[in-house]
C-alpha cells in the first residue's frame, strides 16, 4: 500500500439532468433531493474530518456535478474547505456536462480552485449522441470546450466512447481528430460496455442493439492508441491518455495504486489501511443514516495480503507502470510463463517491472488471470 502519499477526496454528486442509456453509476433525476443531500454531505464530512483531514486531490464526480445550481456547487466546496485541508497545489477536478457549462458556472468553479474540468463529450457525432441518450448536442459540446479554454482552465479532460452501434472506425477517428483540435491535456476513451440494470442491457438482450465483436473491439482499441500516441498522448492506463506525463489524473491513479482515498456521498467508495467500504446506493438511505448520526456505510471489506496482491496485479497490468516483477517469480507456473509473455509481446521488462505492451493492454484481464 502506498501510505506515503496523501489521500484523495472524492465527492459523489448523485444527480443528473437525465439518465443515459448505458450508465450504471448511481444518480437520480429528482433535483428536489439536492438540499437534503447537501445537508447529509455536511454531516458526513463532519464525522470524517478528525480521521483524515489532508488531501492533495479532490474529485467531484457523479452523476453530473454541473447540474447543481451555482449556489449548491459553491456549498459543496465550502463544505470541503470547512472540514478538510486540501493542499494548495492539489489537483481539483470537476466532471461536467457540456450543456450545463455557462461562463458564470465556470467562473465560480475557477474561484473555488478547480483546475481540471473533465467533460463528458462522448462523441462529436450527432447520431452517436442520440443513441447514447445524451442531453447535449455536438454544437453544445464545441461551445463548452471553447468556453472552458477561454476561461483559462489549464487542464481539460475529454471523455469519449467507442464501439457504439453503427459506429465505424473512420467515424471514431473523426471524433478523435475533433477532440485533439482542442489540445485537451487528458482524454479518456471507453469502449461502450453493457452494464447490468441499464436500458442498454435490455436492448442488448432483446437483440435490438448489436455491438462490435472481439476483433472489431480490438481494432477500435488499437487505432485509438495509435492515433493519440501520434498526437503526443501517453497511454498510461487502458482507457486513459495524457498529453505528457504531468497531465495524468493524479486522483484516478490513487485508485490504481492502492493510495488511500475517502469517498463522500451516496454509493461512494473509500479505501484506507487495507480496508474498503462503500456507502448506500440511495439518497434517501444516505440522508436517513446521517440524520441519525450514523455513517451511511452499506458494506466494507478488510483485504487480506493475498487480496491486496491480486488487486495490485490486476490494477497494475492496466497501467503503463505495470507490476513489480519479483513477486511473480514466487509462483513456478507464473515464472515459467514470463518468457512466453515477453516473446509474444504481451509485456516487457523495464527496471524490474513487468510492463504490459499495447497488445498486453488488450488482454489485461487475461494477463492478470494468467499471472495470479
Amino acid at each position: 500500500m502506498n501510505n506515503e502519499q496523501l489521500p484523495g477526496l472524492y465527492i459523489h454528486v448523485p444527480f443528473c439532468g437525465s439518465r443515459c442509456l448505458y450508465c450504471d453509476f448511481y444518480s437520480e433525476t429528482d433535483t428536489a433531493l439536492i438540499p437534503a443531500w447537501l445537508q447529509a454531505l455536511e454531516q458526513e464530512a463532519r464525522i470524517y474530518k478528525n480521521q483524515c483531514s489532508a488531501f492533495d486531490t479532490l474529485y467531484i464526480g457523479g452523476g453530473t456535478p454541473t447540474v447543481l445550481e451555482n449556489a449548491a456547487l459553491g456549498s459543496v466546496f465550502e463544505c470541503v474547505n470547512r472540514h478538510f485541508n486540501v493542499s494548495a497545489d492539489a489537483e481539483i477536478t470537476v466532471e461536467a456536462n457540456p450543456q450545463d457549462l455557462t461562463p458564470e458556472k465556470l467562473r465560480i468553479l475557477k474561484a473555488c480552485g478547480v483546475n481540471r474540468i473533465s467533460v463528458g463529450v462522448q462523441s462529436f457525432n450527432a447520431q452517436d449522441l442520440h443513441f447514447l441518450q445524451r442531453r447535449h448536442s455536438v454544437a453544445e459540446a464545441l461551445r463548452a470546450l471553447e468556453l472552458i479554454r477561454s476561461c483559462g482552465f489549464t487542464t481539460l479532460g475529454i471523455d469519449l466512447m467507442y464501439g457504439l452501434p453503427e459506429q465505424t472506425v473512420e467515424g471514431w477517428l473523426a471524433t478523435l481528430a475533433h477532440a485533439v483540435t482542442f489540445q485537451p491535456e487528458h482524454i479518456s476513451c471507453y469502449q461502450l460496455t453493457v452494464a447490468d440494470g441499464t436500458r442498454l442491457a435490455e436492448l442488448f438482450r432483446e437483440g435490438t442493439v448489436a455491438l462490435p465483436d472481439e476483433h472489431e473491439g480490438a481494432v477500435f482499441f488499437m487505432v485509438t492508441a495509435q492515433f493519440l500516441e501520434q498526437h503526443g498522448y501517453v497511454h498510461y492506463e487502458i482507457s486513459n491518455f495524457a498529453l505528457g506525463e504531468s497531465n495524468r489524473s493524479r486522483h484516478n491513479q490513487k485508485y490504481w495504486h492502492h493510495v488511500p482515498y475517502l469517498g463522500l456521498g451516496p454509493a461512494a467508495h473509500s479505501f484506507q489501511c487495507g480496508c474498503r467500504w462503500w456507502n448506500h446506493k440511495s439518497i434517501q438511505r444516505y440522508c436517513q443514516e446521517l440524520a441519525a448520526g450514523r455513517l451511511p456505510i452499506s458494506g466494507a471489506e478488510v483485504l487480506t495480503e493475498e487480496q491486496l496482491h491480486l488487486e495490485a496485479l490486476s490494477l497494475g497490468l492496466r497501467t503503463a507502470a505495470g507490476v513489480d516483477l519479483l513477486p511473480l517469480y514466487q509462483n513456478q507456473h507464473v515464472a515459467s510463463l514470463l518468457p512466453k509473455l515477453l516473446e509474444s509481446e504481451y509485456a516487457q521488462i523495464i527496471q524490474g517491472r513487468l510492463i504490459p505492451t499495447r497488445k498486453g493492454f488488450l488482454v489485461a484481464d487475461r494477463l492478470a488471470r494468467a499471472l495470479m
Partner: protein, 598 residues
Amino acid sequence: MRHIRNFSIIAHIDHGKSTLADRLIQYAGLVDQRQFRDQILDTMDIERERGITIKSQSVSLPYTSRHGESFELNLIDTPGHVDFSYEVSRALASCEGVLLLVDAAQGVEAQTVANLYAALEHNLEIIPVINKIDLPSADIERVKEEIEAELGLDAEEALLCSAKEGIGIEDIFEAIISRIPPPKGRPEEPLAALIYDAHYDTFRGTIVSCRIFNGCVKPGDVIRLMSTGVTYKVEEVGYFRLNRVAQKELVAGEVGYIIAGIKTVGDTRIGDTITLDANPASAPLPGFKEVKPMVFSSLYPIAADDYQALTDALEKYKLNDAALIYQKDSSAALGHGFRCGFLGLLHLEIVQERLEREYNQSIIMTIPSVQYRFLLRNGEYVVVDNPQYYPDPAAIEKSEEPYVRATILIPERSMGAVMNLCLERRGVNIKFVYPTPKRIEITAELPLAEIIYDFYDKLKTVTQGYGSFDYEFIGYRDSDLVKLDILVNGEKVDALSLMVHRDRARSRALQICERLKEEIPRQLFKIAIQGAVGGQIIARSTISPFRKDVTAKCYGGDITRKRKLLEKQKMGKKRMKMVGSVEIPQTAFVAVLKSEHE
C-alpha cells in the same frame, strides 16, 4: 419356512420399481409418514438422482394375510445395469419369485424382456404387475396383449396397480403369498448360505447379505467362506427391516445379514457360499464366479497436493466396493495417481462421482482401456491395460484384443440400424433369430474396446430406447493395434494417450482433437492440438488466442467486483491442469471419455 417368501421386483427403468418398493414398505408399516421419503431403499444420492439402484438392498416385510396368517416377505432390490449383471443374478438366485413390473402406458420394453429371461433362468415364479393404471394414457388391454405375445405369460394372471396412488397393493401382497412358493431348504443339513451382497459399516465392519439355503447360523458359530477358506466368528445375525434387527439365528429359507468381524467388503465374494467351519457343506452353492474388471483407467488428483487425500479416499471407498481394484500409477502430465479396474463404464462413472461427491475429491480420469495382449519377438507375452506401458512397436510380434459375444434384443424395425452399429464397431459373426414375432435377438462378436465407451447409449438411441444388450467375454483375437498420442503445443499429454485399432486411429484422433478444441478455453497463446501415431501427425485442431479481454472502466466499486471475479477464477484454476503453458480444464479430460458425440 411355510411363512417366508423371498422375492425381487424387476422392471424396465422408470416403470416404477422404487415407487412400488416404497409402497410395499409403507403398507407393511415399517415407516410412518414422517420418516418416509421417496426411493427409500436407494440410500446413495447418486442413486436417487439418476433414478437407478447401484447396490442391492433388502428389507423384510411383515405381512398378515386376509386369512389372518402372519408372513415374513423378503424383498431383495437389485441393481439395474449390465455392469452389475452378476450381482443381479446372485440376488435372483436368492429368490423364489419376482414381480415383473410393466408400465401401463409404455408397455413391454427391452429390459422387461431381458429381466424376464434372467428370472426364468433361475426358475422363478413370475407375477406380472401392470403399474401406473391411474395414468390417463394407460392402455391395459394393449399391455396385456404384449404380455402374452412378447413375454409368453398368462395376462389373465397379471395384477393391476398404481404404486403412486397406492391402488392394488394388498392384491400384490396376497399374490406373493399365494403364488410364490415358500423357500425349500433343510435346516438339519450343514450350513449353506449364498452371499448376494455386502456393505461396509464403520462400526461393525462388513455386513454380509445372504440367503440361507440349508442349515442355520447363530452368533458364536465359526463360519468359513468357501472360495477363500478363511474363517470368522459370527458376532450377530438378523433381518433387514429398514435398519438391522438382530435375531437369535438365521435358518434355512431365510434372508438376512451376518456380522462376523470381516474387515472389508473385499474380503467377501459375491456369489460365494458361507458354511460352518466345524460342519461344512459338501459343495458350495452353484454359480460362483470371480468378478473381473473389464475396463481400466487412471485416476489423478487435480492438484498434486491432494494425492494423499485421494489415497485415503480410495482406501475408504474400496471398503464398500469389492469390484474396484487399483494400484499406484504416475503420469508426466498429471503426476501421481492410481490405475483402476472397473466392471464397466457405468461402474467407472459411479466410482468417479462418488469420490467427487462423497469424498470431496477433484479428480481427472484417463481414457478407459481394455486389457490388450502382446506377443513380443522374444516370445514373451505381455498384458497391457495402460497405454504408458505400450511395448516398443519394433518388439511386437503380434497384438491381440479381447472379444465379447454380445446378445442384443431389439424391435424388428431397428434391425438395419443395429446391424450397422455392429459392423461399425468391427462386429463379426453377426447372427439373428426371432424369439417372438416383431422382436429380434442379434448375437455378434465384438471387440470389448468397441462397446465399453458408448455402445449402450448408441444402441438406446438407434432403437429409441427399446434395445437391451448383454455380453460375455469369449477370448483374445489377433488385432492390428497402435498407440495414439495427443500433443498440446507439441507436448505429449500422456494421460490422453490410448491404444486403438489401426483402422480407428484417425477417426478417434480427429474426434479427440475436436472435443479438446471445444473444451479447452481460449488463452493468451495459440494452442495446437495434434493426434499422432508413432511420430506421424494424423489429426489436428487449433484454438486461437484471445484478441481482446479487458474491462473498460476500473474505478471505486469496479475494483472489488473485479477482484472477486479473479478470486473465482483462481478457484477455477485449481481445477485446471497445466500442460506447458496451456491450462486444460478437468472437463476436457472428461469430455474425451465421452468419446463420440454428434
